[in-house]
């Protein structure tokens, strides 16, 4: 490399790195999903996962915390194809989404990565004429058969442009909390005092609490861009989702805010499964554990971050990572 090129991006390091019980270098393509299931190191994880799902369905808040250094599969994307109108934009993609790690979807514009992300919480249904083939499972249950709003409380999304509501900070974070209800039953009216601990917890997890603790009634739209995006993350985390989807969350932000949010993302991965779409390769290098490279709707290659960036197997991956196109 010539001296003029910038130094390679380094992974954001945390104290604990997640461990996978399975072989990292096996591509999931063409292999049955079962092979990817991680054997839990202690007996606690799958029963905990099952009881989390059950308790979620009853609308309760408590859930046992998962030991940080384990990785559990949360969502399974199996041969999913998506179309808008008559054109397939995603073609037969299979991926695992695991709690304890960050999955990055990279690729050029039009590769279908955002569409794939939006199908994970059925947001594609908002657009008329969207079709889906294949199976997406959350904790083993096909998301199509779930009630859509319950799904979206378990799989939260943060968008590219920060979109806080025109309300106060507190009301933004408490927004989804006020809407929780068991299917078909009435909502419980929750007072501010009741909601405050959860709001503060979410703001803490999003790394925003220190900055706004003084006045939680401050209008959300008056925050800076980076703060607004962290507020959106806090809002998404307030309902304690199992999966967090991030659609290029830093593309509208300055570098300092970007760095803060990337730290945040890596720190959150032990609690929530994270899928991040990014067109910024260096960002993927910094935050991701596994990377999936998509091109024109197809999954070209999937592997660990180290392997994808150091020694990609596919020529097209090599071209993309090397900057030949984008």
């Amino acid at each position: 490399m010539s001296p003029a090129t910038p130094p390679r991006a380094r992974r954001i390091a945390l104290d604990r790195e997640p461990t996978l019980a399975e072989d990292r270098h096996r591509s999931p393509l063409g292999h049955p999903i079962d092979e990817l299931r991680v054997a839990p190191p202690s007996g606690a994880a799958p029963p905990a996962a099952a009881s989390v799902s059950a308790s979620r369905r009853n609308g309760l808040q408590d859930r046992p915390s998962i030991p940080p250094a384990t990785v559990t599969e949360r969502m399974a994307i199996e041969a999913v194809s998506l179309a808008y109108g008559e054109k397939w934009v995603v073609r037969e993609v299979s991926l695992p989404v695991r709690q304890g790690e960050v999955l990055a979807l990279i690729g050029a514009s039009g590769s279908g990565k955002t569409t794939l992300l939006r199908s994970l919480n059925r947001l594609t249904e908002i657009t008329a004429g969207a079709t889906r083939a294949g199976r997406i499972a959350l904790d083993g249950q096909e998301i199509e058969s779930m009630e859509v709003n319950e799904l979206r409380r378990r799989v939260s999304m943060v968008f590219q442009q920060p979109n806080p509501f025109p309300m106060s900070i507190f009301e933004n974070v408490a927004y989804a909390l006020r809407e929780e209800h068991a299917p078909g039953r009435r909502r419980r009216r929750r007072s501010r005092r009741e909601l405050e601990p959860e709001v503060i917890d979410a703001l803490r997890r999003a790394g925003l609490y220190e900055e706004v603790a003084a006045d939680l009634d401050h209008p959300a739209l008056r925050l800076s861009g980076g703060q607004q995006q962290r507020l959106c993350i806090a809002r998404a985390l307030a309902v304690k989702p199992e999966v967090l989807l991030l659609d290029e969350p830093c593309s509208a932000l300055d570098p300092i805010s970007t760095a803060t949010i990337e730290q945040l993302i890596v720190g959150l991965r032990s609690d929530v499964a994270i899928v991040i779409v990014t067109h910024n390769l260096q960002q993927a290098m910094r935050v991701a554990d596994h990377v999936a490279f998509m091109h024109l709707g197809e999954l070209v290659e999937y592997g660990t971050s180290a392997q994808m960036f150091d020694s990609p197997r596919n020529q097209r991956t090599r071209d993309y990572v090397g900057g030949a196109f984008g």
């Binding site: 709003n149 979109n163 809002r235």
Partner: protein, 311 residues
């Protein structure tokens, strides 16, 4: 030159305001604050004004216009309240819930309801609906219970309020739908992504955001309702009677005559000077009410700006 023409608009309004208040003054001066109080039969009083002395020094101005004011408040208030609820629900339906085919039908429907002339509404009301109302709801006992005071017919408060509400609904629907369509998609999408159903998203985000527009719609609709003269004169009934809620359900069937309708009904007597001035007094009350409405709406919109709601 263009500027001069444009300013002529201002001149018109200024002239109108000055004229109305100047000509209204004698009526207010002679009655004082009691102009607004109850006290007797308005129709009789207006008749007396017309028949009164022709000598300027002895003009009769006696009027206790409370029945008219109360009728105006009741018809306008009830009509706007009904129209508000109906319009907001209809706007939510149009923007969010209606399938495309239904949406394509409902656009022309709203346009149609806005376009029908008020006299046609009045005709349908008085010829088709009033007899039905009379048959269905006004029994002999009901008539008898108030017969010393007033005669009940099919032309009454209910008919006036219903048709007035139907007339002002399209205005409000148009404004609210226009405003709802400007709510940024990022907010509605964000709300959906948080697992909030369509109705709740509408209620907590979209409708909350368009509160200024809803206020504006209320103001416009109220101004329209205040100014509606012809239709109300046709379907309101035969007398200027202050509808009495204490009469129980019968109050729904008592005749009404709001201010604007009164002006139209008595317009033939305008050559009689004291009556002319009395009618101008009523017009002045209407003008002041409309102005006050606009001011109130502006004042209420100010605090909303704080949270980033565009007013």
């Amino acid at each position: 030159m263009l500027g001069a023409l444009s300013v002529s608009v201002l001149a018109f309004i200024a002239l109108m305001a000055v004229t109305v208040f100047a000509k209204a003054w004698p009526s207010f001066a002679h009655n004082g604050i009691k102009w607004f109080f109850p006290g007797g039969d308005v129709d009789q009083q207006l008749g007396a004004i017309i028949q009164g002395p022709k000598d300027p020094a002895h003009y009769n101005y006696y009027l206790r216009a409370w029945p008219l004011i109360w009728d105006t408040i009741m018809t306008t208030g009830l009509a706007v309240a009904i129209a508000l609820v109906v319009s907001v629900l209809a706007a939510v339906f149009i923007v969010e819930l209606a399938p495309t085919s239904v949406r394509r039908t409902i656009d022309p429907v709203v346009r149609l309801l806005a376009a029908v002339p008020s006299v046609v509404y009045g005709l349908i009301g008085i010829l088709a609906i009033a007899p039905w109302l009379e048959r269905a709801f006004i029994s002999e006992q009901r008539k008898h219970s108030v017969h010393e005071v007033v005669q009940l017919t099919g032309s009454n408060l209910t008919l006036a309020v219903l048709i007035l509400a139907l007339m002002i609904t399209p205005i409000m629907v148009a404004i609210v739908v226009g405003a709802l369509e400007t709510v940024p998609r990022s907010w509605t999408e964000g709300s959906a992504a948080l697992g909030v159903n369509r109705w709740r998203t509408m209620w907590r985000v979209s409708l909350r955001t368009v509160r200024p527009a809803i206020l504006g719609a209320i103001v416009l609709a109220t101004a329209r309702a205040l100014g509606e003269a012809i239709m109300l004169s046709m379907v309101g009934g035969s007398r200027a009677f202050p509808v009495n809620p204490l009469d129980g359900t019968t109050f729904l069937f008592e005749p009404v005559r709001p201010l604007a309708a009164t002006i139209i009904v008595y317009i033939d007597g305008i050559s009689v000077v004291p009556l002319e001035q009395t009618l101008y007094a009523m017009a002045a009350v209407l003008l002041v009410s409309c102005a006050f409405l606009s001011l109130a709406a502006w004042a209420v919109k100010q605090p909303m700006k704080k949270y980033g709601i565009r007013t």
